[in-house]
Amino acid sequence: MDRDVLHIAGLTRRFGATVANDAVSLRVRPGEVVGLLGHNGAGKTTLVSQIVGLLRPDAGTIHVGGTDAVADPAGARRHVAMQPQAQAPIDGLTPRTAIEIAGRIRGLSNRDARAAATGLAEELDIAQWLDERALPEGRGLSGGIRRLTAFAMTVVAPTPLLVLDEPTNDIDASRRRLLWNAVRRRGDDGAGVLLVTHNVVEAERIVDDLVILNRGKVIASGSPAHLRGTHDGDLRLELELPPGGSDPTADARGLPVAPLRLVRTGRRVLMTVPASEAAPAVAWATALRTRNRLDGYSLGPTTLEDAYLALASRGSDDAAPHATTAPVPLEAPNV
């Protein structure tokens, strides 16, 4: 535990009758990027709010860089840089000034803060907006540039623990890639990173470990490969249902193969099948397509998203593993 930059054990926090965090335990080691996944209301923001001393836990412990964050929240905050989900208050500032100010607050000299602002603008490709002023009511700078500025303000100085709450919201695809690389680089430089995100598919590439939170509880944790839980030979057949169309997988007897895992989210059905049985599965899907019972289908390698959706839906309605067919009551993750 002494080596952990973040060590949370048995953390519980209630709001009235709702248990927002239920005996949550997790750890982040230096140099490690840990993804915290979970649908809306899973308790992710409640968790990070306790790390920086905005909320007080009802039970459990939080240690940040060895400092007891429950007993000494002000001391613990010196080990943390957090980018919350809300936009940073930068109205009246240019990204350059905002990043420099954040650097000064995090202990950089004036000169280092200036250099860091220029460097981060290059790293995140926002140099052309660096001297544009953010104005009230969202004028002046777009949401994406504001979000990237807030990210830069968080990572401007080396900090033992970075907590990033949905850092890719509003950001375009090419800059999201730059942001993910920047996060990975901070980890490689020795920081521990707790990354809260919905973006399972993109986060998978840069995280070392994942913790999946559902209704306040940790329902799974481990490396992406471990959580994916299937063999490299397994494939995923994704079916797209027409609007109002019935689910052809609803009755297991009609299936050509026994799926390893079955998840429905909105109008998409994700079936994990062994590679050896892909051919009959595709033939079955093609037949459904010709009868217009499907809008389309695709076959590809299994992803963490399948595992995540299966875990989250299993946690929601306690259905048997590998055979979840109920409509998934969760927001579809960004893909």
Partner: protein
């Protein structure tokens, strides 16, 4: 650029990460001055607008209230004009400040600032400094309006004037802040609106306390409004009005109460 291949290679080899970065260690003074820069940039753009509003409000009080009093004599005009600066300072502190704080609580910037690696009371210190910078010019604005309208001769007691102006502003800002951090945002807005009416119409700031019922005068002996106004008045027209030590004590007590409630709310975890 030449570093890039090396860095990639070491990652691929799974080399141990570099040592963990050190925690933030910044002096309170650096935190304070940096916060001041941040807050000034955010509120600074409002400064011209605030001064215009203050000038209009001063004109409203000094000229408008003058119409209510037929054949206004110079003593009444002096009372009215020396009360106006207090009204302006109180409106900033009790109305504009809580609205800003309520907005910051609603849009998340209040918690953003509280999550920064610094002592949270510094957040209030920086805000207070900026509101002092914004509020103090309104005294000059009010005096100029009074002088233009009634051609009054002020007699300044500078040390008293400066002390009273700072105390009234700190009191109003601290109490306004305390209202905004203690009540739900909607309720805080409502309370601050009601306070404007109370300050303008039911407080002996622009008229003499003797015009109020006795029990209400006693109430005002313990509220910070009349004591603040009388101290400021004594600083503006030292020849006509006298400062009282009791008023000073009441004002300081309210300052302390506002600061204590605000700092507690900033530090406390929900």
């Amino acid at each position: 650029m030449s570093e890039l291949p090396t860095a990639t290679a070491s990652t691929e080899l799974g080399a141990a990460p570099r040592s963990m970065p050190d925690p933030v260690n910044v002096s309170p003074w650096t935190s304070y001055t940096t916060l001041l820069r941040w807050t000034l940039a955010q509120i600074g753009s409002l400064l011209p607008l605030v001064i215009i509003i203050q000038a209009l409000l001063a004109a409203g009080i000094i000229i408008g209230f003058g119409f209510l009093i037929p054949d206004i004599d110079s003593a009444t005009a002096m009372f009215l004009s020396t009360g106006a600066p207090t009204v302006l300072l109180l409106t900033i502190g009790l109305v504009i400040v809580p609205q800003g704080v309520s907005r910051a609580r609603a849009d998340g910037s209040f918690d953003y600032m509280r999550a920064l690696p610094l002592a949270r009371p510094l957040l209030f210190a920086a805000d207070l400094t900026v509101w002092l910078i914004i509020a103090l010019p309104s005294i000059a604005v009010a005096i100029v309006v009074g002088w233009l309208r009634y051609d009054l001769d002020f007699s300044f007691d500078w040390p008293l004037l400066i002390a009273a102006a700072v105390l009234v502003t700190v009191m109003a800002t601290a109490v306004g802040y305390a209202i905004a951090v203690s009540l739900q945002p909607m309720l805080a807005q409502l309370v601050s609106q009601v306070l404007v009416f109370f300050v303008l119409l039911f407080s002996p700031i622009t008229f003499a306390a003797s015009q109020l019922p006795e029990w209400f005068q006693t109430v005002h002996d313990f509220l910070p409004l009349r004591p603040g106004a009388d101290l400021l008045r004594a600083g503006l027209a030292a020849d006509s009005f006298e400062a009282s030590g009791r008023d000073l004590v009441v004002l300081v007590a309210w300052c302390i109460a506002g600061i204590v409630i605000t700092v507690r709310a900033l530090v406390r975890r929900r």
